[in-house]
């Protein structure tokens, strides 16, 4: 048997997301966002990180606000239901961070190229756009077969992918379901993978349904038990999106002073996150109705 990869969140971030490293996060887009890991990055005062992702909702805004970021390679950074990400805006407008602007398709292709072990993937998007003009990872080439103009998207190989999943065994074999975004290619493209999981389950549970495994466990470096680790984003099968938290965050990040107060309360305080949320709020987000899939037969 392999050795257990189960560690604390503190240890996982300390070991596999050092200063100066590049991290793919928020890979399922609007759900399963690893917010607990983001808060731990801020708590550990990481510096000079490169954040990689499609749209991260407010995760990248928080980590940028924590002063941890040198560069963002992403398609979008803001607050999905309210608009601007104020920390991100301030950092870009004052030129404190560098941005490589992608689209969701080009970031998916960049990570897929990394996952496939090739230096680029072709796409047909972005020609003529400002993304194409300003992003040195996008180059026009002529298809050798059709003669068409094609966008070559350079591979991205993050140092670490930090991914939240529903359930994992201690060896890093994990089930994830719902929309997956760019999670599969982000994991395979990365040198290390940190999984944060709602539940740690026995290997038998995971191996009973291999089609639902998000990435092979032997590629995973660390597994962290992190219940409610994606709050306020939704986790299929576990909890709904906490819209109010995103609405509140608009004011909590509007000024540097407001963000400092947010950080003191939610990140640097000694109180446990779930007790900060409170029982009533937690109860309001749990599933009101279950919808179980039919079992499938892997017998022989």
């Amino acid at each position: 048997m392999p050795t257990s990869r189960l560690v604390s969140l503190t240890e996982a971030i300390a070991r596999f997301a050092p200063d100066g490293s590049s991290a793919a996060m928020g890979t399922a887009l609007e759900s399963l966002i690893p917010f607990a890991a983001g808060r731990e990055i801020i708590r550990q005062r990481k510096r000079d990180l490169t954040l990689i992702g499609p749209i991260s909702d407010i995760l990248f805004d928080q980590i940028v606000g924590g002063g941890c970021v040198r560069k963002v390679r992403a398609a979008w950074a803001g607050n999905v239901i309210t608009g601007s990400g104020y920390n991100f805006r301030r950092a870009v407008e004052s030129r404190n961070i560098e941005v490589e602007d992608h689209s969701n398709l080009t970031i998916a292709m960049a990570l897929r190229a990394g996952a496939m072990g090739v230096s680029f993937m072709p796409a047909r998007t972005a020609l003529g756009s400002g993304l194409y003009d300003t992003n040195s990872s996008l180059k026009a080439i002529t298809c050798p077969f059709t003669g068409d103009a094609v966008t070559a998207v350079a591979a991205i190989t993050p140092d670490v992918a930090i991914v939240h999943v529903q359930r994992s065994d201690e060896y890093g074999n994990a089930h994830s379901w719902g929309n997956l975004g760019v999670t599969r290619e982000a994991c395979l493209a990365s040198k290390h993978i940190i999984l944060t999981a709602e539940e740690i389950v026995s290997p038998d549970v995971i191996s009973s349904d291999p089609n639902r495994v998000v990435t092979p466990g032997f590629r995973v470096s660390a597994v962290v038990h992190a219940p409610w680790g994606a709050h306020p984003s939704p986790v299929p099968g576990y909890y709904n999106r906490d819209h109010q938290a995103f609405i509140d965050y608009q004011n909590e990040s509007r000024t540097p002073e407001a963000f400092a107060a947010w950080r003191a309360h939610w990140v640097d305080g000694s109180a446990d996150y779930l007790s900060l949320l409170g029982e009533e709020r937690v109860a309001s987000l749990t599933l009101k109705m279950h919808a179980l899939a039919e079992a499938v037969d892997y017998g022989y």
Partner: protein
């Protein structure tokens, strides 16, 4: 519901508009815009659904005149039915319930790239006379006045769908002769541009704003005012546009939402998060 009044967001409009034939059923300008957006969807269309108002527009079309439309969402979701409960984002769990397919972003982007997505919807912050959209840098990269969230999937929808529909607030600062940065390509500098840069198809078909509906001249690819919303004058639309806007000789009035459309809209947005003024 307070929403962020920055670029990239449709500004709330204070007064609800009363409908002449149904004074007891006022509707908001956002409801009018969503109804207009829904009418851009034909039955059977494969629709790439964007965030915010388009989420409602698809739900509305699906529940009224386009029951066979298929919804594609960039998170990796395909739906053949409207979500069973109100949703504020496409990742809300009701939007996953009995979806037709839950998959990867690359899978749904592949459908777009193949050319089988009929229509898509994009919100804009700044637009120009050829329908190029900017949601990245106001002032441009050299002289950043404001950083906006960026493309998300918008550049891909504008590059690869057969047509895309733009939904945004109509203000002079947003309707500029030439955008500072092209996040989502329209017709560039006019006819022939998309072919020249190598985009395989498509382009904007419609711009739905807080004041009216614009379409594009088939030859010159320039934006043309096609209809004005009830209570809005042509002059006001022209004055709110940063270039001499062409006006169709047959400019019409945007049809008000029907009672059935309003009832459905209020079912899908009961708190008026997206549609209250």
């Amino acid at each position: 519901m307070a929403i962020d009044n920055t670029y990239g967001q449709v500004s709330p409009v204070p007064a609800a508009l009363a409908r002449a034939d149904q004074p007891q059923r006022p509707y908001t300008r956002s409801e009018l815009m969503v109804a207009a957006a829904a009418r851009e969807i034909s039955d059977g269309d494969v629709v790439f659904v964007g965030m915010r108002l388009p989420l409602l527009g698809f739900q509305l079309a699906k529940s009224t005149h386009a029951p066979n439309a298929v919804g594609v969402y960039e998170l990796g979701i395909i739906r053949e039915s409207a979500a069973p409960e109100p949703i504020l984002t496409m990742g809300d769990l009701p939007n996953l319930y009995r979806a037709q397919w839950l998959a990867d972003t690359a899978d749904v982007m592949g459908l777009l790239q193949q050319g089988i997505v009929d229509a898509s919807f994009i919100g804009g912050a700044q637009v120009d006379r050829f329908g190029n959209l900017n949601t990245t840098y106001i002032g441009g990269l050299e002289k950043i006045e404001m950083r906006l969230p960026g493309s998300g999937g918008a550049c891909d929808l504008a590059s690869l769908a057969k047509r895309h529909i733009i939904i945004m607030a109509h203000e002079k600062r947003r309707f500029v002769p030439k955008v500072d940065y092209i996040t989502s390509p329209g017709y560039g500098d006019g006819a022939g541009w998309r072919e020249r840069v190598g985009l395989p198809r498509g382009g904007p078909s419609t711009v739905i704003t807080t004041l009216g509906v614009m379409r594009f001249d088939p030859d010159s690819k320039e934006m043309v005012l096609a209809s004005i919303h009830p209570g809005v004058t042509v002059d006001r639309v022209v004055e709110s546009t940063g270039w001499p806007l062409r006006v169709s000789p047959n400019v019409a009035q945007t049809p008000a939402p029907s009672a059935a459309e309003l009832a459905m809209l209020r079912r899908y947005d009961p708190q008026g998060y997206w549609t209250s003024d």
